[in-house]
């Protein structure tokens, strides 16, 4: 699972050269504008906008579909509950089950927002390396403690994934079974060991960082000033987001 996430990296596409802070603001404006869309007439335009944004990357459609799998389970539950239990206008009666208009429309609206938002979020995080993105967030005002925690956590996730894999393999070789509820004790002990080892490692990391001057000075994290192309792309995103929000709020 982590290996799939590790493949998130900027490829050769139109969006990877976009200045990160500007890209972050622009695409997040789009994401929140999509979240505000309620009217069914805006949904096709929203989905088209999301797909057009995705088209600007060099990523295959299969990659986007793979990102939908985990949250898709939640959507599947909605697909059952809303059309069958929400609303009064019956569209179709199948024995004891009734397909209802209001619930079906609510589900279509949710599914379109879900797809569009995840598409744009995928574009943002698949075309920008995570450390660059965190530095951009810090330069936009994210508290330093949170920024540092994001960078450190990201740094150690992959290392700990390997540690966890090794610990489980070692436990398996010693005869542990992870196929039953009884494995909870073994898992708890592996987890406890990881916590203890990480605690010791954190002490060493802090000492090394302090020696290298951590906390003494604040490094200037801005990479480069946004160029005219960056600003034009931002303006396009903000305009599109504005169209969605204003149309939804005042014209529908």
């Amino acid at each position: 699972m982590l290996d799939r996430a590790r493949t998130l990296a900027p490829g050769s596409n139109s969006l990877s050269g976009w200045e990160t802070r500007v890209k972050l603001i622009g695409l997040l404006c789009l994401v929140f504008a999509f979240a505000a869309v309620r009217d069914l007439r805006l949904l096709p335009l929203m989905v088209i906008t999301a797909l057009a944004t995705y088209r600007l990357t060099a990523l295959p459609l299969s990659y986007l579909i793979s990102r939908m799998k985990v949250p898709g389970v939640f959507l599947l539950a909605m697909a059952v509950v809303l059309p069958l239990f929400s609303g009064e206008t019956v569209l179709l009666q199948l024995g004891p089950l009734a397909l209802r208009l209001e619930g079906t429309l609510a589900f279509i609206s949710i599914a379109a927002r879900f797809f569009s938002i995840i598409t744009v979020v995928t574009v943002l995080f698949a075309t920008t390396p995570m450390p660059t993105l965190v530095r951009a967030m810090s330069s936009l005002g994210l508290p330093q403690l949170l920024g540092d925690m994001l960078l450190f956590t990201y740094r150690y996730i992959f290392q700990l994934a390997d540690d966890l894999h090794r610990a489980r393999t070692a436990a398996r070789l010693r005869g542990a079974h992870f196929g039953s509820i009884r494995s909870i004790k073994t898992t708890a002990h592996i987890f406890g060991s990881l916590l203890v080892r990480s605690h010791w490692q954190a002490e060493r990391v802090l000492a090394a960082m302090t020696l290298r001057g951590y906390g003494a000075t604040r490094v200037d994290i801005s990479r480069r000033a946004p160029g005219p192309g960056d600003v034009a792309a931002l303006a396009a995103c903000v305009t599109l987001a504005g169209i969605f929000v204003v149309t939804q709020a005042f014209f529908l």
Partner: protein
């Protein structure tokens, strides 16, 4: 308890970010009050966040299915006030790496898990009164804190979803949905409680320092 994008109205998403911002501010203030230099705790909190992130990907078999651990209670127990920012960071990575919980719902999800984690922290702190080195009070408080964290998180999530998603659900269906979601989380709460109690006992034996945030 990881609510995805597009389900809840944008007003709830914005409200969630406001609430999470407030909770983060409160947590950072408490951290600053307790530690002379809060940055000293960052490597530890980050490493432990990464451990929790990894552990939440581990599935525990509960035949015929399996459940993945939430661990908000255990995070409260071990990290104390660092738990809220740590959960925020962990949820951010889960959202962007696996789409497990939405990015627009980050604030909402952080509150659904972070506030119960702080409640678990408060419950576990009672060990200061009952005996911080005694095994039974530690295990019981660890179990109770974790169970309450899962139950409260599930209750808040169910109420939020039912109250804001469908406009046409009748009251009986709403009640059934909330009850069903809560009932589904009771076994998870018990498993997390047992898991937390086991980890607490392990840490008490091997590295009791790791539990000092709760004192």
């Amino acid at each position: 308890m990881h609510i995805p994008d597009g389900i809840l109205p944008v007003s709830v998403a914005v409200g969630g970010f406001a609430a999470a911002g407030g909770m983060t501010w409160l947590s950072l203030r408490q951290i600053e009050r307790k530690h002379s230099d809060p940055r000293q705790g960052i490597p530890k909190a980050s490493l432990l966040t990464a451990v929790f992130f990894m552990a939440s990907l581990v599935h525990i078999p509960v035949p015929p299915a399996s459940v993945h651990l939430v661990l908000s209670g255990l995070m409260g127990v071990v990290l104390g006030w660092y738990a809220f920012p740590a959960i925020l960071v962990g949820l951010f990575f889960q959202a962007v790496m696996f789409q497990h919980g939405g990015l627009t719902m980050l604030g909402v999800n952080a509150c659904l898990m972070g506030i119960p984690a702080l409640l678990a922290f408060s419950i576990f702190r009672l060990r200061g009164l009952l005996g911080e080195t005694s095994r039974v009070p530690n295990a019981v408080l660890g179990f109770a804190g974790s169970f309450v964290a899962v139950a409260l998180g599930a209750l808040l999530a169910a109420l939020l979803i039912v109250a804001t998603v469908p406009a046409y659900l009748d009251a009986s269906v709403e009640r059934a949905a909330v009850t069903g979601l809560l009932a589904a989380h009771i076994p998870l709460g018990v498993i997390e409680g047992v898991f937390t109690a086991m980890v607490v006992l392990f840490l008490l034996r091997v590295q009791p320092d790791l539990l000092k945030e709760s004192l």
